[in-house]
């Protein structure tokens, strides 16, 4: 589940964001408690709490005192907007850079995208 590439609390936050994006966690749905999360993934509860706190700070989750944490109503839309904004920088540009390195002409990439587009519309 977790790797050494970034802090674990960061990975926890990303995993929950992905669940929200995929629709697995809906608006106003309650998320696992930090203790449940910690026990399930065998991590320190303070580390799990840090991941959840990051999501509260970003407005993705909100707390209801004594009950738990819930998905903000607009969390999915906000996350989608963020991902869309980053899509070209995070996904397309590295792809173009890789194509250059290994000598695939950009025209070939464009042509391939056109094929995929055609398949999508078929």
């Amino acid at each position: 589940m977790f790797d050494d590439r970034s802090p674990i609390y960061h990975q926890i936050a990303e995993a929950i964001k992905n669940d929200i994006l995929s629709g697995e966690l809906g608006a106003d749905e309650q998320v696992m408690s930090t203790n449940q999360y910690a026990a399930f993934y065998r991590i320190n509860p303070a580390t799990a709490a840090k991941g959840f706190q990051q999501l509260v700070d970003e407005g993705v989750l909100y707390k209801r005192r004594g009950i738990g944490m819930f998905v903000s109503a607009d969390a999915r839309d906000a996350l989608l907007a963020q991902r869309r904004e980053r899509f070209f920088a995070d996904v397309v540009e590295p792809m173009v850079a890789e194509a250059r390195v290994i000598g695939i002409p950009l025209d070939d990439v464009v042509a391939h995208l056109q094929t995929l587009k055609g398949r999508d519309q078929a």
């Binding site: 977790f2 050494d4 590439r5 970034s6 802090p7 674990i8 609390y9 203790n35 910690a38 026990a39 993934y41 065998r42 991590i43 320190n44 509860p45 303070a46 580390t47 840090k50």
Partner: protein, 292 residues
Amino acid sequence: MTFGIEIQDLTVRYPGVTAIDSLTLKLEGGKIYGLLGRNGSGKTTLLSLIAAFRRVTEGTILVDGEAPFENERLTQQICLIRESGDLVVEGEYVKGILHRARMLRPGWDEEFAQRLLDLFEVPVNRGVTKLSRGQRSALGITVGLASRAPLTMLDESYLGMDAPSRYAFYDVLLEDYIAHPRTIILSTHLIEEVARLFEQVVIIDNGRLVAHEDTESLRMRGAAVVGPAAAVDDFTTGMTVLGEQRLGGTKSVTVYGEIGRDARAVAADWGLELSPVALQDLFVHLTKGDRA
């Protein structure tokens, strides 16, 4: 209830060797700590002093604000389980050890103890010397956890257990810590396996404190810089270099310290790859020193 620990200028000298060398360390109550150090680094000496197994001669140790040595209130509530062999007294039965713990520990939970003995398949009617190494470790763990001591220290006490038993132990430890928060110190050689359980890590080497930090921050502090040798050398000039390796024209240098946003941009520009270092690797680098 949890106990905090304050250690000030602690020194322990054995003939010809300084086991603990002016160590100052403050551990807040209620966290799980990983105590890491090589063999002979002073871990066991340190834990024995905190547990009042030995008297402090230079410096001070305060547990919950008081010196633990010959302090009955504290010694009942501080539980140190050492390596598996520790509990073994010739001719003693598992039952006898459990009975002693029940008498000594105000927080003892009999039901929990029984559950652990079942979980780890420790036979209670057997002599302790007849137990396998894994069963002896499991007995130590059982006494350590079921004591519910506000300060619980496990000094490599589960190393004799096989992998499935160790994972069962990690699960039980977390579950019980969540239900009954207390200060827990684990010393271990199996760093990668347990690193995620630690809120903070304390690393000692040659009796000196090398690092005391949140596990995640410590982990993020190490980085391997990989790329063309000349560029790597330029980039790492002035940084704390823990180790380096070279393969043809490529060099990998492990550095310790914050690498800021600007430095990361420079690295990307120079075609250098920065990757995090596993806690165990960081530990190896920080403690390899110059001794044999």
